[in-house]
């Protein structure tokens, strides 16, 4: 077998106590297209950032063509011929395409514009990456920006090209042409590594497939070694045992929320397409999906932040997008994913944070009843076991993620809402805090309907009565969480394989 061009040996990277990568050994061979597959948070992006010089590994070594190398910054990796196209493009909006491509490479005092343009044009003709070089980047489409990023790497003579979820922001046509570009680059003996969680892309393009799960490399395969998408999905998601959560049976009661043909368009892209859903009191419905498939938008729509088309029925009243955002009912509790910026105000203390959503309960027309607020905050902190170093006067930003989440949960559940929208309620929490949040939510459903928006299969299976799979802005499947046959296919549904 040939020499690997890039060899990772025992790579480890930690953020605080959390190991994003652990003991990763990976060989990349010259001229291959290598797919890196894994769920959100599996450590794919961290690993690629190490290879491209954005992070230094805490452990392990990197060998390039057999020689050990240290990438202290991206520039050094670039000089060794390794370039990365980030998910968020690294381009300067107000400069033209050619300026972006040549930036950082010009050594002459005056810019040899003609020379640069000729060189870029030659590369873009050869690789069929045609972009108007004089346009400003701000006026380009996402697909064009990606071409500029690739040109940038080729201009700097990168031999190993890394792509972080390259197709996530492209239109289907753009994806097809992107694949052609990749195959062309491969023909020109470039080595390509790309991160993805879309299974069909892997089978279409990859020469070899590596799977990461929870920061560890599970295995590297040839595509023909894997019999089906199903097997790949199982490898990627893992066969985690479902946590046993004591869940008492509750008979669903009257319908609280009904969505009828809810759609949402943002920046000319349909983020949600005709969502229909019904939630009853006493019921937890989970919206399950890989991030970027519209569940963020659904949460913002229902949380009264984003406008929508279609109709929404809440407690026998009909709302449109306009009336829902304007007269957002106080009996709805929204627990947002971004607890630091949307769920709380980090520079205010907990008393102030308490009344963010509940001022109406603690005020008359002219006055705010601070003594009542004080008392309430105190009770909630002790009832929900929130560890606040300075009690009521703790600033929200001084609470740890888990404690802040418990506080927000306390604030919202104590409001006695009819509907709770919980978005990724346990993301980033440790096991203990997670369990506590779960128990609170399960207890809350006695009095309310709960919509749980999550990317965590375990969470959905543990809590929900019904599971709705969201994929590319549509609800693809709705089934009971008791349905064993459907549950076994969740991995496939999530990745759009069926």
């Amino acid at each position: 077998m040939q020499e690997p061009i890039l060899r990772l040996s025992n790579i480890g990277k930690s953020f605080g106590d959390f190991w994003a990568n652990e003991n990763i050994n990976l060989d990349i061979f010259p001229g291959e297209i290598h797919a890196l597959l894994g769920e959100n948070g599996a450590g794919k992006s961290t690993l690629m950032s190490i290879i491209s010089g954005n992070y230094l590994p805490d452990k392990g070594k990197i060998y390039l063509k057999g020689k050990e190398v240290f990438f202290r910054n991206p520039k050094i990796a670039q000089d060794y011929g390794i370039g990365m196209v980030h998910q968020k493009f690294m381009l300067i909006d107000n400069l033209s395409v050619w300026e972006n491509i040549a930036l950082g490479t010009i050594s002459k005092f005056t810019i040899p514009k003609e020379e640069i343009l000729n060189k870029i044009q030659k590369i873009s003709k050869e690789s069929k990456l045609e972009v108007d070089l004089h346009k400003k980047v701000i006026n380009l489409s996402e697909g064009e920006k990606q071409k500029v990023e690739i040109l940038k790497l080729l201009y700097k003579q990168a031999k190993i090209l890394i792509f972080d979820e390259p197709t996530s922001i492209l239109t289907p046509q753009e994806i097809d042409s992107f694949f052609e570009i990749l195959l062309f680059l491969k023909k020109r003996k470039h080595t390509i590594i790309f991160i993805t969680h879309k299974l069909e892309e892997v089978f279409k393009l990859a020469d070899r497939i590596s799977i990461l799960r929870k920061g560890r490399l599970i295995a590297t395969f040839l595509p023909q070694e894997i019999r089906s998408k199903k097997e790949l999905a199982r490898l990627m998601v893992g066969r985690d045992i479902v946590f046993k959560v004591d869940k008492e049976e509750i008979q669903p009661q009257e319908t609280i929320l009904k969505l009828e043909n809810i759609s949402c368009t943002k920046e000319k892209q349909k983020k949600l397409k005709n969502i229909n859903l019904e939630i009853k009191k006493g019921e937890i419905v989970a919206i399950l999906g890989v991030s970027g498939n519209g569940q963020e938008n659904l949460a913002r729509v229902l949380g009264g932040i984003e406008d929508f088309e279609g109709r929404l029925y809440f407690q026998n009243q009909t709302y449109t997008g306009h009336t829902w955002t304007k007269n957002f009912p106080s009996s709805v509790s929204y627990i947002p994913e971004d607890r630091h910026n949307l769920g709380s105000v980090s520079e205010l203390d907990l008393e102030h944070n308490l009344i963010l959503t509940r001022l109406f309960q603690f005020s008359s027309k002219w006055f705010i009843f601070w003594d009542k607020i004080k008392e309430k905050t105190k009770i909630l902190l002790s009832n929900f076991h929130v560890k606040a170093p300075k009690g009521n006067k703790t600033l929200a930003r001084h609470l740890s993620g888990g404690n802040l989440q418990k506080f927000i949960l306390a604030r919202e559940l104590d409001k006695n809402p009819q509907l709770i929208i919980a978005e990724q309620p346990t993301q980033g929490l440790d096991i203990q805090a997670t369990e506590e949040v779960w128990h609170r939510l399960l207890a809350a459903r006695k009095k309310a309907a709960i919509l749980l928006i999550t990317g965590d299969i375990k969470e959905a299976l543990s809590l929900a009565d019904k599971i709705a799979i969201i994929f590319q802005g549509e609800i693809k499947k709705l089934f009971s969480s008791q349905n064993r046959e459907e549950i076994s296919k969740i991995g496939l549904y999530l990745t759009g394989a069926i």
Binding site: M90, L95, I106
Partner: protein, 300 residues
């Protein structure tokens, strides 16, 4: 004709300090650093320029001292904004207070004194002399600098790198540019040009040291930078505008007609440019300033 040349001469002469400070600020803002300390830098450098000339009896040393002083004050601003990531507006305002306070305090015993001043041109021709005797070598230098900076920003690698650092320091850093270096360089260079503008006031335009002798020209320079959308040639136009109103004020005083009260005349050079700025500038200014302006960049 004589009147016209007289006004033109004073216009050119009056615009130089504002022009130099604007050019300095353009360079600084291109790199993403906002320096609102121009007034302080200008006054302090005017004083240092004066005092250096007073003791050394050398104009060259005076101007050099002023530029050094300007660069030094800007360096403080640079350190706070670049290394410590402080609020740039706050740091700039503090710099103004520091510069003016220091200059006025140290200069108490020199108020009203004069030293050498930069000689004006003179020629045999009568008409040309009306114009030329208002001008000196620094006026010409300021115009040359305007073009030079225009050229550097537009056509050179230095200019491209500088604006990329100002637009998006993360990207600039990822292609291997040293964001800190460029920002320091631009802020200090900007301070030096502003310092030269200050020295022009105390050593050429109105020779001698007077308390608060900049009289708000630093703030006018900032207004002109906003008007210029960071284009040196437009800053030149803005500076002329200021100079023209200055000249008109002198002209009306010189011919002694009490058409307009003197106080209103004195106000005009400061008021009218601002009004014009507001009217001209509403539409397109948003996109012509660096996206990274005023935002701290700390390397990860």
């Amino acid at each position: 004709m004589e009147d016209f040349l007289f006004i033109l001469g004073i216009t050119l002469q009056s615009s130089v300090a504002v022009l130099l400070a604007s050019l300095g600020e353009i360079i600084t803002e291109k790199s993403g650093i906002l320096n609102l300390g121009l007034e302080g830098i200008m006054l302090f450098s005017a004083f240092i320029g004066f005092i250096c000339t007073w003791y050394t009896q050398s104009l060259i040393l005076g101007f050099m001292g002023a530029m050094l002083a300007g660069g030094l004050l800007a360096c403080i601003h640079a350190f706070f904004c670049i290394h410590l990531g402080s609020d740039q507006i706050l740091s700039g305002l503090a710099l103004t207070i520091l510069g003016t306070g220091l200059a006025n305090f140290l200069g108490r015993s020199f108020i009203g004194l004069q030293t050498l001043s930069l000689a004006s041109f003179s020629l045999k021709s009568y008409y040309l002399n009306i114009l030329l005797r208002q001008l000196n070598v620094l006026v010409i230098l300021a115009f040359i600098l305007t073009y030079l900076i225009h050229f550097i920003l537009k056509k050179t690698t230095l200019g491209l790198n500088l604006s990329s650092v100002g637009e998006n320091p993360q990207v600039a850093s990822s292609v291997g540019l040293n964001v800190y270096k460029y920002r320091y360089l631009a802020t200090i260079l900007g301070g030096m040009l502003t310092g030269l503008g200050g020295a022009y006031l105390s050593l050429a335009y109105t020779p001698g040291w007077k308390e608060n002798m900049t009289g708000g020209q630093g703030w006018i320079a900032i207004a002109m930078v906003i008007f210029s959308c960071l284009k040196p040639i437009r800053a030149l136009v803005g500076a002329f505008l200021f100079g023209a109103f200055m000249a008109l004020q002198f002209y009306f005083q010189a011919i002694g007609k009490e058409l307009i009260p003197a106080y209103i005349l004195k106000m005009l050079p400061f008021l009218l440019p601002l009004v014009i700025l507001i009217l001209i500038n509403r539409k397109n200014s948003k996109y012509s300033f660096p996206q990274g302006l005023g935002k701290p960049f700390l390397r990860t």
